[in-house]
């Protein structure tokens, strides 16, 4: 490349530096959005792969049912039988049991349900050293070891610890039946099967209402039996396999072996683990939108660039005419404009890389908040940045070369004398009418006629400005909607406490609650059922809420129709998706209690009585009596809503209820709000970033468009 061209290109850019800078910013924002978003997606995916790999996440969990346990040696012999046949890589035998965790929270006693995982750890070792499968603390180089296996020391699950502010060195009290133990917290630990604290059957994450404590087997046995004992009991085994292809046979052999010992076991495969499932499905759900958003930004920035460069090249056409008059070949002229394109691409890419630094910082923060413990360092995946640069180069080159190629085809004289671009077209009928309209000011007539003479140019400006504004407003609306959804979800929930029960319990479980707890105003038994709504061939997941007194528990904002006995109210979201209206019927898959015993899933046809607009995602509502008629769950409930005086939090009541038989969690509304915010954190955070990026993009495109327009009207080339 000869240097005069480069000099000329540089001087051209310097002469219109603001305009070129904004153009570079437009493409830079596209590069930054594309690179950073894809990198964040990669970070999330790699982060998940990494934590499951490095923690040696189980391929299979074998849990003994009905409170059964076996001696360590018995379990070991079963495992030895299958070890070679099924290529078991790693195994961990554990004693897992439910406990109550007592601790001080906001200067009051707080009791939470929890789980102890007793593991075989040698004295002086940490859980990381000796645990082969589902290794906690895998991300710490040198974790604090247990002083001794009987030192009354524990590791506590990280999210639970953070929610209540547990720090190393503090004491917590663990109760099981009549046995109680004070344990010193050695460290917070990420526990692989609870990377995201959600248990089987949970409808929502439960990190504030479920604490997991890791103990050496000796300490766990003491808590389990009430005595210090040399016996080692096991009720839970986690395995990693070299080849998961033989999984079904392994499960069958293990089931038989355990049955021979009189123990019924339940298997949970890797992908059935609720925590892992939740994290992966959350990523999968976000993946599409994460891919679409930068594509939209890049698309708009590309459109802005095309329009702006096209106009800019047009403004250079007199110069092209002079080049041609001087005898310059078309190819040489195109090379000259390609230099400008390359300059913009390089500048834009560099700007994009610079902009991706703050974007990456924001995303890194979001990623770390998602898992709440340090995973892979947020490093750059160069390939996305390279792709961004290549796309930017292709865009800039094509955006300069195509209009330049069109420009070199014109007769030099036309562009030199400025005849080209001066429309020979008449102003048209409308223009004529306007011309005769004396009441219109001349300035307005001129503006309108200019637009009518060059409709494509006008349209492209309007489109560029419109698209960039629409992008910004779109992201702002999504952002506002997400915030509004959070707010209205909270506003829609009238309850103060949601009590989840262990499966279905007799409704009489709540008898006497109000009398026993001062401050408790109302107790509403309820059933919450996950279901599948099936209109025709589609299927949509939903949660049916059926409190005994719907109005007192939920403030349902009915968009159309009403709540009626024998019918269902579905969400606006579902109604839109399925094209349903009140009066239509829908198939609902529900567990139905059979005449003898046990549930079976049945499809029931139900009429829709109304559509609600509460932002409760997939919530459907049904009167309790209706649900019971359909399912046969007469006299049974699986949840209870409690209203307190002035909505206040009553710790004593929480502690009392959580310890009752059949109660699995007691959540105050504030806990739910916090969890929902956390759940939407990444989505809202991402949208906020996109809104900020699109705002800058819109500003840059609009400013550039108007600046070019101003130049065109000055007749400056």
């Amino acid at each position: 490349m000869r240097k005069t061209f480069i000099k000329k290109g540089l001087r051209e850019i310097w002469a219109h530096k603001i305009q070129y800078f904004l153009l570079a910013l437009v493409i830079g924002l596209g590069v930054a959005a594309y690179s950073s978003f894809n990198d964040f997606g990669r970070y999330r995916k790699d982060g998940l792969d990494q934590i499951f790999e490095e923690s040696n996440f189980m391929d299979l969990q074998v849990r003994m049912n009905y409170g059964s346990t076996l001696n360590e040696s018995e379990v070991l012999s079963i495992l030895k039988e299958v070890e070679d046949t099924y290529e078991i890589d790693g195994r961990e035998m554990r004693l897992v049991f439910e406990v109550f965790i007592e601790h001080e929270y906001e200067k009051e006693l707080k009791i939470t349900r929890g789980e102890v995982i007793g593991q075989f750890v040698s004295g002086g070792n940490s859980p990381k050293d000796d645990i082969e499968v589902n290794t906690p603390l895998f991300y710490v180089d040198d974790p604090e070891p247990y002083s001794t296996p009987v030192g009354d020391e524990c590791y506590i699950e990280r999210k639970f610890a953070k929610a209540y502010g547990f720090d190393p060195g503090e004491l917590i009290n663990i109760n099981r039946g009549n046995v109680s133990k004070n344990l010193e917290i050695k460290e917070q630990a990420a526990i692989p099967e609870y990377f995201f604290v959600i248990r089987e059957g949970d409808f929502a994450p439960s990190e504030r209402s479920f604490g997991v404590v890791l103990l050496p087997m000796e300490t766990a046995m003491e808590l389990y039996t009430g005595n210090r004992t040399d016996q080692r009991l096991v009720n839970d085994v986690v395995l990693t396999l070299n080849d998961t292809g033989k999984m079904d046979n392994l499960k069958e052999d293990l089931r038989r072996s355990f049955e021979r010992k009189g123990v019924v076991v339940k298997f949970t495969e890797k992908d059935e683990n609720p925590s892992r499932y939740f994290l992966i499905s959350d990523y999968e759900n976000d993946k599409e939108s994460m891919a679409v958003m930068p594509a939209i930004i890049f698309g708009v920035s590309a459109f802005g660039l095309v329009m702006a460069l096209r106009r800019m090249i047009r403004s250079h056409r007199p110069q092209i005419g002079i080049f041609k008059a001087l005898g310059m070949r078309d190819r040489t002229i195109l090379i000259y404009f390609s230099i400008i394109g390359i300059f913009i691409a390089i500048l834009g890419t560099l700007l994009g890389y610079l902009l991706s630094i703050p974007l990456n910082m924001v995303f890194q923060g979001l990623g770390e908040r998602m898992l709440d413990f340090p995973v892979e360092h947020y490093n750059i995946t160069y390939i996305y940045y390279l792709y961004g640069a290549v796309i930017s180069m292709i865009l800039c080159l094509s955006c300069t070369l195509i209009p330049a190629a069109l420009a070199v085809r014109v007769k030099p004289i036309d562009v030199i004398q400025g005849k080209e671009g001066v429309s020979r077209k008449q102003v048209g009928r409308l223009g004529g009418v306007l011309g005769r309209s004396r009441w219109l000011p001349v300035s307005l007539k001129l503006t309108i006629r200019n637009q009518l003479r060059k409709p494509f140019k006008s349209l492209s400006t309007i489109m560029g400005v419109g698209m960039s504004l629409a992008l910004f407003l779109g992201f702002m609306m999504v952002f506002e909607s997400a915030i509004a959804a959070l707010d209205s979800t909270t506003e829609g929930m009238e309850w103060d406490y949601e009590v989840m029960l262990d499966g279905f319990q007799p409704e009489t479980i709540t008898t006497g609650w109000e009398d026993e707890h001062p401050g408790m105003e109302d107790v509403v038994p309820s059933i919450i059922l996950p279901t599948i709504l099936e209109p025709d061939d589609d299927a949509y997941e939903a949660l049916i809420y059926s409190p005994d007194d719907l109005d007192s528990v939920y403030d349902i904002d009915m968009e159309r129709g009403q709540i009626r006995e024998g019918m269902i109210v579905i969400s606006w979201y579902h109604a839109e998706k399925m094209g349903l209206e009140p009066g239509d019927t829908i198939h609902v898959e529900l567990p139905v209690l059979g005449p003898r015993a046990g549930f079976r899933m049945e499809r029931k046809e139900i009429t829709i009585s109304g559509i609600h607009s509460n932002h409760l995602g997939s919530a459907a509502f049904m009167p309790l009596a209706t649900l019971r008629n359909i399912t046969g769950l007469e006299g049974l409930i699986n949840s209870v809503y409690i209203m307190t005086e002035d909505g206040r939090q009553i710790r004593e009541m929480e502690n009392d209820l959580i310890e009752r038989e059949g109660v699995t969690s007691v959540s105050h509304i504030s806990d739910r709000e916090g969890l929902m915010e956390q759940y939407l954190d990444i989505f809202i955070g991402t949208i906020a970033v996109m809104a900020a990026v699109s705002m800058i993009l819109a500003g840059a495109i609009i400013y550039t468009m108007f600046r070019i327009s101003a130049r065109e009207h000055r007749g400056v080339s």
């Binding site: 005069t4 001087l326 005898g327 310059m328 030099p412």
Partner: protein, 242 residues
């Protein structure tokens, strides 16, 4: 009758434009020849078609009627590539309003042509550009941008740029129109001195006095050649006054 073969033959050339519903006949059946080693001046009032005629000869516009023959070939029948070659090798343009590239210095404006139009090797470009600048008396003004030069200086850069291609025909559109008397004379001296070694200069102007320095003068009115006058003894530029 001139025995020398003309560089360009113009035969009944017409050019008309359509502006809205009106057709303007800028040139009407113009016929003349352009000979080597001669200065030809086209005289006429504003709007008579002088610049239009120049643009047709320069190959930056195409006639709507008649013939414009270059080396026996009709310019209208040349391909785009051949037309570019014609402009590159045959024509040097000195525009009325100079049309220098604003963000290149005087020297770079010439280097630009030497490099990208004439494909001159990089090593020679600087030397040749300096020579050309010196030949128009601007040897010390090469690093100035067009906006830092006076009108006369810009015109001289424009001439140097045209000369950089060493064209067979130099076309100058009102070369003194924007200049003061003494600068104008210097420019004319430069132009006239170019018409030798088989090269030709065609000047269009409304200044009748300039006809005195020409070998031939064409009087143009309303797009037609009113008359053609041959000067056997053109006046030296130094004696010219207006």
């Amino acid at each position: 009758m001139n025995a020398v073969e003309p560089l360009i033959k113009v035969e009944n050339m017409s050019k008309s434009y359509t502006m809205g519903e009106v057709t303007v006949n800028a040139l009407r059946e113009v016929t003349f020849d352009l000979f080597p080693d001669q200065v030809t001046v086209i005289l006429g009032p504003s709007g008579c078609g002088k610049t239009t005629l120049l643009n047709q000869i320069g190959g930056i516009d195409t006639p709507t009627g008649g013939k414009l023959l270059v080396g026996g070939r009709e310019i209208q029948k040349l391909s785009q590539k051949e037309l570019t070659d014609y402009r590159r090798k045959m024509i040097g343009f000195v525009f009325q309003f100079f049309n220098l590239i604003p963000n290149l210095t005087a020297r770079e404006n010439i280097e630009f042509v030497l490099e990208y139009v004439m494909d001159m090797p990089s090593g020679e470009v600087k030397r040749r550009a300096q020579e050309l600048l010196a030949s128009v008396g601007l040897g010390d003004r090469g690093d100035h941008f067009p906006y830092q030069l006076s009108g006369g200086e810009q015109q001289r850069v424009s001439i140097a740029r045209a000369l950089a291609k060493d064209p067979r025909i130099l076309l100058a559109d009102e070369p003194t129109g924007e200049l003061d008397y003494s600068t104008g004379k210097k420019i004319l001296e430069l132009l006239v001195s170019f018409a030798n070694n088989g090269r030709s200069v065609l000047i269009v102007t409304h200044n009748k006095e300039l006809g005195k320095i020409a070998n031939r003068v064409l009087h143009l009115r309303d797009g037609r050649v009113l008359r053609e006058v041959t000067n056997e003894r053109p006046m030296p530029v130094s004696q010219l006054e207006w």
